[in-house]
Symmetry: C2
Subunit: 710 residues, 2 copies
């Protein structure tokens, strides 16, 4: 039997490319959603048949209406539900009976209002499952497909956007209208535009996979208000990015806790910690944006222009200051100012006035007309040292603004190198900007945004070059052993596992716990100590002795067999002196490690992303500097290495002040294993290894203390 995800992939096609649509629950009241939907579909010149379904009307907007969806004589590819939520299940049932597989539920009044809404949402989901139907929504703005083949505006948005190559997926419906309006003014086109609302059935994950295979989509934009299935989202995103090479730009609301509360009050779900979101998105290769403007700035960079071959860029400007701002932002983003070839330098020197700056960034000076821009543009594009060009213009009284825009379009069209522009200002430059936008040259109000967007394209290209990191299988872990310890604790109703039990679990996953053994006599003590390797610590094992150190029940720093035997006897004597009736389980002989760099390794379960691993430097570094980093489990070795290098104090691990570097390999291995452990056991709510002592290179690292909450 097909999974729901497979069913969705089959049914989504008819959501975007239906030949016939039933709008179920429509009416004649203009300015309401039920009417506007019909009207919008017709106005957009939908390439197919529309069947309004309205219990009380004979026709809607000039089109014959039917009482029930089952009354429609033809086949129907897509149903759009605009009935009140209280009767949606009846309409959906009829859609099922009619054999309709693809549905958009626009209606609100479901999970987002709580109570009865939650029940209603469950009910329509069950109906969809029964009939192998798939629906988008409920509580959404609808779906738009500007593809000239279909021209579908199945939404209550005012505008049908231009056709283009940006796929937009949004959890918020209201935001969509702002996005459409913003995009319209900038000639930004879309391949698909979806408001997925409560995503009760088809989720953003299904839609991502659909856009992966959609040949009209080059860039995917995702607006989220909460992440429900974080792990699933990350997996899908990484697959889509890797398999299609399409970037996913993501905007997620809810950065502060008050913000999260506001999100919760309106989506009916709690937002996860934002740091973990950041980490997870980055792991999956998604590009997180801070706001809509940044998202579209980057989207058009990906959608309109080729990828630069290298990071060497040229800047051409008629104003020094903005050239500086652009240079700053470019370099921060990993780009480089190209060193011009001799030929370029010669041409610029010959053709530009003496006061011009012929070095990169090229300043053609405030009074430049189109001819100077042409010289600089032609030289830069021709130069093999230059792989992208950024053009800046400020409108002086003699500046030939739209001529220059045309030059940018003309010169760049002969080369497969990306070109970006920032014509600063607004009214005066508007005509020039329009020329740029119609020629699909990404344009930016701020030159810094231009540089940052180009940098993002370059960074993404570099990201795709790196091979996907595999999470190792770790066939040597003993999952059952760990399971046994956990289930015993659960059976006893305990949610805190003391060190000894935590150590057993860590040991089962081959984390570097200290070697130890229980000796029952002085010979065993010496023998085990030798096996473990000196120095060792010996400690009484007895539930009847509480303050073991105070009564001499612990001996540190035992260096040889004789000392081991002496320690055994001394401990036994002291314990017996102290409490002759103490029940003694033996004496624990443990490897002694006191030195090493203290680090902290932790894990917890996040409501959205499940198992999450934390790493940081220990002691004061975590307490005062909060110098820690997170990643979503499970992790590859590369992920672990990234954690080590991305804390601020990473130099301390890699060797600083003449100190030898620490055992990075061992530490990476421990992080990978820990990530597998929390991924295997979602019942581990919190786990702390604090400190872990990291020795010099080749000498390992050791769990010095650990605790687990379940």
């Amino acid at each position: 039997m097909a999974t729901r995800a497979e069913v969705h992939q089959k049914n989504i096609q008819n959501i975007f490319y239906p030949e016939s649509i039933a709008i179920v629950g429509t009416n004649k009241v203009k300015g309401t959603v039920p009417f506007d939907i019909v009207n919008n579909i017709l106005k957009a010149e939908f390439n197919g048949v529309v069947f309004p379904v309205s219990p009380g009307e004979r026709y809607i907007a000039g089109v014959k209406a039917y009482k029930y969806v089952t009354d429609i004589p033809d086949e129907v590819d897509l149903a759009i539900l605009v009935f009140p939520s209280s009767v949606c299940h009846l309409a959906l049932e009829q859609c099922g009976q009619k054999g309709i597989k693809s549905v958009i539920v626009i209606s609100a009044g479901f999970k987002e209002v709580g109570g009865v809404g939650v029940e209603r949402e469950k009910r329509i989901k069950q109906i969809a499952e029964k009939y192998d139907m798939s629906f988008i929504g409920p509580n959404c703005l609808g779906v738009i497909n500007p593809d000239p083949k279909v021209r579908l505006n199945a939404s209550f948005a005012r505008r049908m956007p231009e056709d283009g190559s940006i796929g937009f997926l949004s959890q918020s419906g209201a935001l969509c209208t702002a996005v459409l309006d913003y995009a319209y003014s900038r000639h930004i086109g879309f391949s698909k535009f979806v408001s997925f609302g409560n995503k009760a059935d088809i989720s953003e994950i299904d839609l991502l996979y659909y856009l992966r295979d959609d040949p009209r989509t080059k860039v995917i934009l995702l607006y989220l208000e909460e992440v429900s299935d974080g792990k699933g989202l990350l997996e899908a995103a990484e697959n889509v990015i890797r398999e299609s090479g399409k970037p996913i730009l993501v905007l997620k609301a809810g950065r502060t806790s008050k913000g999260a509360a506001a999100a919760a009050s309106h989506t009916g779900s709690l937002a996860g910690s934002d740091e973990i979101c950041d980490a997870g998105f980055e792991q999956a290769g998604m590009i997180r944006c801070d706001n809509l403007e940044e998202m579209f700035n980057k989207a058009i960079a990906f959608a309109y222009q080729p990828v630069p071959k290298s990071n060497r860029m040229a800047i051409i400007t008629n104003a020094g200051g903005p050239g500086v701002l652009t240079t700053d932002a470019a370099i921060e983003g990993g780009l480089e100012l190209a060193d011009f070839s001799e030929e370029t330098t010669k041409v610029l020197k010959k053709s530009l006035p003496k006061t011009a700056n012929i070095k990169n960034p090229v300043d053609v000076i405030g009074d430049a007309r189109a001819d100077r821009y042409n010289v600089a543009l032609s030289a830069a594009f021709k130069d093999d040292n230059v792989d992208s060009v950024c053009v800046i213009l400020t409108p002086q009284s003699m500046t030939e603004i739209d001529l220059i825009a045309r030059e940018v379009a003309k010169v760049s069209s002969h080369y497969d190198k990306p070109v970006f522009a920032s014509f600063m200002g607004e009214a005066d430059v508007a005509e020039g900007v329009d020329v740029l936008q119609r020629n699909r040259i990404p344009h930016y109000l701020l030159p810094e945004s231009m540089a940052r967007s180009l940098a993002t394209v370059y960074q993404f290209k570099e990201y795709l070059k790196k091979k996907k990191k595999e999470v190792p299988a770790l066939s040597d872990v003993d999952k059952e052993a760990a399971e046994k310890v956990l289930s015993e604790a659960k059976k006893e109703g305990r949610n805190y596992l003391p060190e000894a039990e935590a150590v057993k679990i860590l040991q089962a996953y081959k984390l570097p716990v200290l070697k130890s053994k229980v000796a029952k006599n002085e010979e065993e003590a010496a023998q085990y100590a030798q096996e473990i390797g000196y120095p060792v610590v010996m400690k009484i094992m007895s539930d009847d002795v509480v303050h073991k150190s105070d009564i001499g029940g612990v001996v540190l720093n035992i260096e040889n067999d004789q000392e081991a035997k002496d320690a055994y006897n001394s401990i036994m004597k002291k314990v017996k002196d102290h409490n002759p009736d103490a029940k003694i389980d033996g004496i624990l002989v443990t490897q002694m490690v006191t030195s090493g760099e203290e680090v902290i390794l932790g894990a917890k379960q996040d409501p959205s992303f499940k198992g999450v691993v934390m790493f940081g430097l220990g002691g004061i570094f975590v307490e005062v500097f909060k110098d820690v980093t997170f990643k979503v489990a499970p992790l590859s070795e590369d992920d672990a290495e990234k954690m080590l290098s991305e804390i601020r104090g990473s130099q301390i691990l890699y060797g600083v002040r003449g100190q030898a570097p620490r055992d990075i390999a061992a530490l990476k291995d421990a992080i990978v294993r820990l990530s597998k452990l929390v991924d295997d056991f979602p019942e581990i709510k919190e786990l702390d290894i604090n400190p872990m002592l990291v020795q010099e290179e080749g000498k390992g690292c050791y769990v010095a203390d650990a605790r687990i909450l379940i």
Copy 2:
């Protein structure tokens, strides 16, 4: 005699409010600066007389022209020079003879081109001084004063901006045209608009003081490409802000080193380190912006609306997502979501639909028309718990966009509470945005920018509340003693001062150096040790003994008189054994301090800001975490305290992990004294106290090692 600054303040008035202007060096070639300037002044309907001066023409743009400025029969208040730089000095000389005191030099070809240009700039400056003239420029776009009294567009910018209350000062001319165009489309008005170019005579400092006293200016904007007289700028800025309560928003190019190089190649001056810029601007109370958009976002917030009484704000939106984004940004900026009064809650509950969110942020839901906005706006403004209101709108098909804009204007007009708006989108919302802008309601494309701008206004209000911090006089420092040490080193041609000399200088400024004295016999050793207080260190003083410790020339941890005597004799014996001919200056008895938190205290001379003080935690914290902070000297106690609290690891000083807090008072005093020292002696190029050992509260701090470069 009046200072140049006093002369400037007198002459600036005629630059902005002339009744007659001579444009010197103009011609008839349209589209060139010399002609455009005349044309722009006439087109802007200048309220006064224009006298073109052109050696070869009888008239310019229909106005009678004169061969020389001295030929003009009337008095001339302002001369604008547009001659080539090679003859500007001749024209300026004639202006002097004519008795013109106020001049704008538009012409380029001065310091910015180097070589002969530098000489030309010096020459015109000398002429200005000779005649008590003042000029703006050279190499600038000119000056604009939209005040209806004068309507002066003495620039080659295309546009005369609207009249308003923003004073704009720019080092870049080209950027000005972009700014004017940007502002025009948003109905942003200016009180004064100045491109000051090379600022050879009148500087941004003079202009800041002018704007301080200009009753038409409410907000000051400053765009800088390099800071030449940083100290002067900071002093002026702080005075202007404190005395007038007007905020100064500053945008400075050159964040990265490559950026700084680009700036240098085109302004003929090196940009100072950006971190120091940041610190200095903040000390002076200036608000640094990252880009032009942010600058104007904040400028209109200050210019158009009253200051909020408190940080409690209300958000009204028809879309949940943007409400969350706004909340996030508001809280990050120190604002709070107001808790509504019972009355407000009652009204909202009664009048808004059930699906609406009646808590702050209020969500009137996507299908809201103007009536719901009216209800929410009225309730929020009326609520005493609310001191500012942010309105968000996304354009759904039923949204009454410009009606809602009118409601915002109408309701807010009855209250003295600031209101801000973000109508998201572009074309659809344009009419509504226009209504807002004409009503001087600050409007933002992004709701986050709206919240951040409001937060900035609130933060500035809080800043003004705090009293200006006084730099203490420190009458107990012995400047002469320090001077003596420095001049001796200079005399000997040394630029490195060893510890002993550095300590003498620090001691003169009462920095807490370790107590020490030179003993010549065992009695003195014991006596001095007692005076200093045990434990002490004793060390041989002899240039003939290099490795003092190796031969037993140093004894640590001396606890009493007997040990002091013994140590004296033992050291003497060992040194003599080692080298019987060694010349011995005595034995240094020094206070012994080994414990304490290590901090680093440094100072250097910055090319723009002169004396700069650095503070940070020592050892690994400075080496790996770069946990240091800078301020421009001299410092108040508050400044010093701020340095302590703004490093990331400040908790370590204030007590962490059960440790007692350190002696903050002593450390603050040391920082203040160090700042005075580098302020008094610009010849101290670098000074490092590393480490300084900070004891527990009340127990002081000590200079453990110090070095000075001159």
